[in-house]
Symmetry: D2
Subunit: 302 residues, 4 copies
Amino acid sequence: MTVNINALEKSPNGSEKYPNRGRLLVKCPDGPGIVSALSKFLFDHGANIIESSQYSSDPEGGTFFIRIEFDCASLAEKRQDMEMNFASLAKQFDMDYRFAYGSDRKKTAIFVSKEPHCLLELLWEWQSGDLQTDIAFVAGNHQDARGMVESLGIPFHYIPANKDIRKQVEEEQVRLIEEYDVDVIVLARYMQILTPEFVERYPNKIINIHHSFLPAFIGARPYERAYNRGVKLIGATSHYVTNDLDEGPIIEQDIERVDHRDHVADLKKIGRSIERRVLARAVKWHLEDRVIVHGNKTIVFQ
Amino acid sequence: MTVNINALEKSPNGSEKYPNRGRLLVKCPDGPGIVSALSKFLFDHGANIIESSQYSSDPEGGTFFIRIEFDCASLAEKRQDMEMNFASLAKQFDMDYRFAYGSDRKKTAIFVSKEPHCLLELLWEWQSGDLQTDIAFVAGNHQDARGMVESLGIPFHYIPANKDIRKQVEEEQVRLIEEYDVDVIVLARYMQILTPEFVERYPNKIINIHHSFLPAFIGARPYERAYNRGVKLIGATSHYVTNDLDEGPIIEQDIERVDHRDHVADLKKIGRSIERRVLARAVKWHLEDRVIVHGNKTIVFQ
Amino acid sequence: MTVNINALEKSPNGSEKYPNRGRLLVKCPDGPGIVSALSKFLFDHGANIIESSQYSSDPEGGTFFIRIEFDCASLAEKRQDMEMNFASLAKQFDMDYRFAYGSDRKKTAIFVSKEPHCLLELLWEWQSGDLQTDIAFVAGNHQDARGMVESLGIPFHYIPANKDIRKQVEEEQVRLIEEYDVDVIVLARYMQILTPEFVERYPNKIINIHHSFLPAFIGARPYERAYNRGVKLIGATSHYVTNDLDEGPIIEQDIERVDHRDHVADLKKIGRSIERRVLARAVKWHLEDRVIVHGNKTIVFQ
Amino acid sequence: MTVNINALEKSPNGSEKYPNRGRLLVKCPDGPGIVSALSKFLFDHGANIIESSQYSSDPEGGTFFIRIEFDCASLAEKRQDMEMNFASLAKQFDMDYRFAYGSDRKKTAIFVSKEPHCLLELLWEWQSGDLQTDIAFVAGNHQDARGMVESLGIPFHYIPANKDIRKQVEEEQVRLIEEYDVDVIVLARYMQILTPEFVERYPNKIINIHHSFLPAFIGARPYERAYNRGVKLIGATSHYVTNDLDEGPIIEQDIERVDHRDHVADLKKIGRSIERRVLARAVKWHLEDRVIVHGNKTIVFQ
């Protein structure tokens, strides 16, 4: 695939264009003065707020969440000071917080099996400049995607898998994740079960696409079960992976209408188009630090 | 409510305008010659096909379904002959079938509890000429809807209900259903459990609205459970009532998008607007004989 | 219509529940320090920010918009001081601004003609506690809606209208608007053209529903024209009325799918359900001060 | 791109699986006996009706349309006889008609410019077995798509174009269309104006994607104009090309929601995802003979 990526129009939010763009994510007990303190802090450090979204689970005694995107001249030089100075403010309000920077692109690993549609969509969004990430590598338990991946200059690692060699497979995967210093793992219809050890190693860092409108049709063969139940809509769900099967925090869901004429193969076909757009949105929001996990739910600041 | 119903534009499908309109619904083992035989039969009886929809579960050895809407001059006089003549054709192809006539409006009973939104939507659709039915009566286990219902000239029956007097309540309901010769019973957020005896008495004649996207959140308090699960879409499902709770054949479903800011009360509010349009569509399709139940699924010829 | 409104569940945002709730809307040239100054001001006056949404048309030299919803103990007593103190801050940043209070419900007048569907939807949303307003009166150039309106305890004024007596009609309307101290005028399919003088008297205070997906089918008979063009979707648009026909700032739009089987009467029927929900959303957002007009466009802080 | 196409699950409607599948499309003056005559004809020729859709513009004196999909053993041998015998039936009812066969895959040419998203979607749908066509060639006035196209084994023809050499460009295009015996020409964001002579040569055979919800924003720069108008939804429209700019019969339209934060570049990005799915659906329906043009409108038998 030799698309001239430079010919594609870049999104105005492309991180590479914004070396002075930063993001601050905060979670803390709600109370008076938080926004005032945060905005004063940023102003005092020469940062201009570009976008700000906040949410309070309950103005009386709940949890407060805020995501601030800001521009700041010479951010590369100032960020260390800024982070150091922020520590005391964070302590005062008992904040969990995180700074992220437009110049630090997250590194993504994509795991695939045979079906390429979700992978293709991610690669397409990435090529068109809409996924703010470096794709570190693609790992597949089948060879099918190799040509497409390598033609884009992305390393492809073939790791055959089955339940008897799960441990060895994951050792190899962990080795690659560490070698490439990966930040986020996307299961683009990977279809293999991960061990509890693997999942626990990467909390809120593994994004899966489940081919049903969860919590309907948890587990295997959701399209077959949707067909048998006679539903009039089918869906897909992207969520963080936890050790409760298909029970992790939901990032995004969508559906399409079906009818009695649609057999299982039709549901799968329609489902593929839902899966690819739901996963692409979830990954995009994660990469832009728009998703905050709170208990088993997500706050998504679109 | 004194809306001048004559001022409202009638749907071109209003049954009252079509005394010569008939419908023929057929279910039979698939095989060659069925459409040919049916269309020849109608042609020979002077009927002109207006709309025809068909479906085969499997062209090889499956079940064939067809719904034909036709016009036929002097249908009132001819229909008895037509039905008699049809019997031998039906026997030849082993058909389950049913004739329905535009001049025979179905009689509907609506059961409500406190929340009036689904009832209001049905009354509104009925007033605007879009539900081809006579509303025989509304029965409520609360008095709230009485004024609204009676102002439209529809009888309202107050039947207090709780689980201890379920039997008496249903005896009264059955009495009314028989007195008014009711064809279809709509549970417009009725919120009471029906006994197996009541349900079995009216197979595929009781339409319910469940306030979730089934099969997610079967049973009680679906909005609370949707909130706790952190779903990004909520839905509603209209289905025929069977004695498996919320497992009857689904007629229609729809959803709306929600987000982390929506508390349970917001989900309920958004849900009400989904519920009312999903139930109204299901009832409309049932009244127009567009729904065929097949096993635990429906064929809907929209 | 005698729905027991107390039986309906109230939205958690119902203004009557929030005597200490205020809103601050600001529009000013973008620049550093605005959010910091605003949040400090509110904090210093004992106000806790509940919800905040902002938008910058261009971080470099554009216009900045913010809507802040806050709670403040004893707001009724403090609001005069707060407003007075705000003046110097506003001057410093060259702000256009406006305070609004949960305890000051806006007063709405609704103009209707024959078709009641939009009026019904507004009344229904209002009854269920979702429109934060007092409906001052309904004025109609037909009598059809009188019964329904008066049964809810709302005054109905019959003002026959035609183009020859436009001036007298509007004099009567203006008299009522002033008598009732009306804040917003909703044209719920009113179907009469307003004079330039009337429109200019109420800038960004008259909300119309146009029965097409503007800018397609500006002007008369949009459903007929949509039918003739063979579109596959029809829509509705709610906008503020200006003296350029159907060219005012758009608040909300929505669409539904149609197909070749839908004749003009079907498009009108489908259209009614789009119109009522689009108008209801636009009015709701206006009443909650979520809409800021900027040139010929709107910023809607949902 | 080395996707193992055999690994992809085929749609059950894939033409290659149905050598005995035929389609009959008929348009004629409405009247009694048409369906009966058609279904008898097919039955007498050993054809079994699989799917049948019909539409009458007006049961009294309108035009009748029907699309029948049928299976018939040894269709390849029988089709000539069948067509010959049909002529007299067609004459009797004054029918315009057309037979199409699953074994005769249509040949498609795709014209592109720089933006590859619509081309990519078509190639993806084609690879996954969902477009029943042979892609004869892709022609581009830029080289960008060459690699991707050729990696799939499809010829790519580079034909530089500008308005001064329009005649020579079209001569070359016509030459290729004739050489490859092309049935349908898809303008996948081709961005060049075609001459009236070219358009007239291929009536109802050129499918375009326009990047607006027609008839809004006919002509150039629709996203810029949508941005300036402040619409809340943007759309795309696929239509047959006629010599009235953007006025040809509409096959499919769809929309997505946007808001005040979306600048022109965002509208273009969102628009791309609408364009690609709308064009893919329109092409799919055309290839399956589901679209009948009637005046300036289409009947689409989905």
